[in-house]
């Protein structure tokens, strides 16, 4: 069966934390073409949208859930909201948990709204990332 409205509430989480490194932060900043010195050196902060990289750990689990029958190449990001309680930093060990908030079925596509909670050690809340994805049900003719 494919994704339905009834999949709202389903959760995805990786068992192992994501360890943020200074090298990965610098690589990500370079990909954005951003030379801000706060992203380099010994103890950098991450670009705020690095939260999407952590979120993707949970999103990818959702996209790969066989019960939802989603195809990555037919998924387009519709919107994104981040709320930051503090910046992500090198040395953080982060757990991302995604929850499907809502599924809307449209002619030929599904809209999937999901919230990722990014937490640090002792469940410290660090960032909330809310997204909507469009999934085209069939490949275009």
């Amino acid at each position: 069966m494919a994704i339905t409205e009834a999949h709202a509430g389903r959760r995805y989480s990786l068992g192992d934390p994501y360890h943020v490194s200074a090298a990965k932060i610098a690589e990500f900043a370079t990909a954005l073409g951003d030379d801000n010195p706060r992203y380099r050196g010994e103890s950098p902060v991450a670009p705020p949208t690095f939260a999407a990289v952590i979120s993707a750990q949970a999103w990818n689990q959702m996209f790969a859930d066989p019960e939802l029958e989603l195809s990555l190449e037919r998924i387009v990001h519709g919107d994104q909201r981040f709320t930051f309680f503090r910046p992500l930093r090198a040395g953080d060990a982060l757990i991302a948990t995604a929850t499907i908030d809502r599924v809307r079925i449209r002619a030929g596509s599904e809209l999937i709204s999901a919230t990722v909670e990014i937490a640090g050690r002792d469940a410290e809340p660090i960032c909330t990332a809310q997204a909507t994805f469009y999934h085209a049900r069939e490949a275009a003719a």
């Binding site: 073409g33 951003d34 992203y39 949208t49 387009v76 519709g78 981040f82 930051f84």
Partner: protein, 150 residues
């Protein structure tokens, strides 16, 4: 905090704009850095199968590059407290040496205490590619501005 950030800040104050060139090389780099390997961002075949006009930039690349308008201005990216945007139009990136330019600009949308909300525009080929893009920064000091003066 740069003193120049707070001085004379009003609703409507424009931030320094920024133009970023998106090429296939940048998409490859972003795919690796972000671990977003959706093939619509590197394969013409999968992009057109998905009904897109061609290979498109990652929405998060556009959103991430757009935020540079705010973080360049404020200096410390750790001051960003929220950021949201809609991906209204795909940025199609040609397979050539030129790529495509995206122009980013920002202006102060709201001021409340130490919190400043910036509205960001992202334009490519005359079209808006982000909708309702807003970033909130906490400047750490109350921002004096005309709306609060008697």
């Amino acid at each position: 905090m740069k003193a120049t950030v707070v001085d004379g800040l009003e609703i409507g104050t424009n931030l320094p704009p920024l133009t970023v060139r998106f090429t296939r090389e940048r998409l490859a780099r972003y795919a690796g850095a972000s671990t977003d390997f959706n093939p619509i961002h590197y394969s013409e075949y999968f992009a057109t199968q998905a009904g897109l006009p061609g290979v498109i930039a990652h929405g998060m690349l556009t959103m991430g590059a757009a935020l540079r308008v705010v973080t360049n201005w404020v200096g410390d990216p750790g001051r960003v407290t929220s950021y949201s945007a809609r991906f209204t139009r795909p940025v199609v990136v040609p397979d050539d040496a030129v790529g495509i330019e995206v122009e980013f600009s920002g202006s102060v949308f709201a001021i409340e205490g130490s919190l400043v909300t910036v509205s960001i525009e992202a334009i490519s080929q005359g079209q808006k590619v982000l909708g309702a893009a807003r970033a909130e920064v906490d400047l750490g000091v109350r921002v004096p501005h005309r709306d609060h003066e008697v």
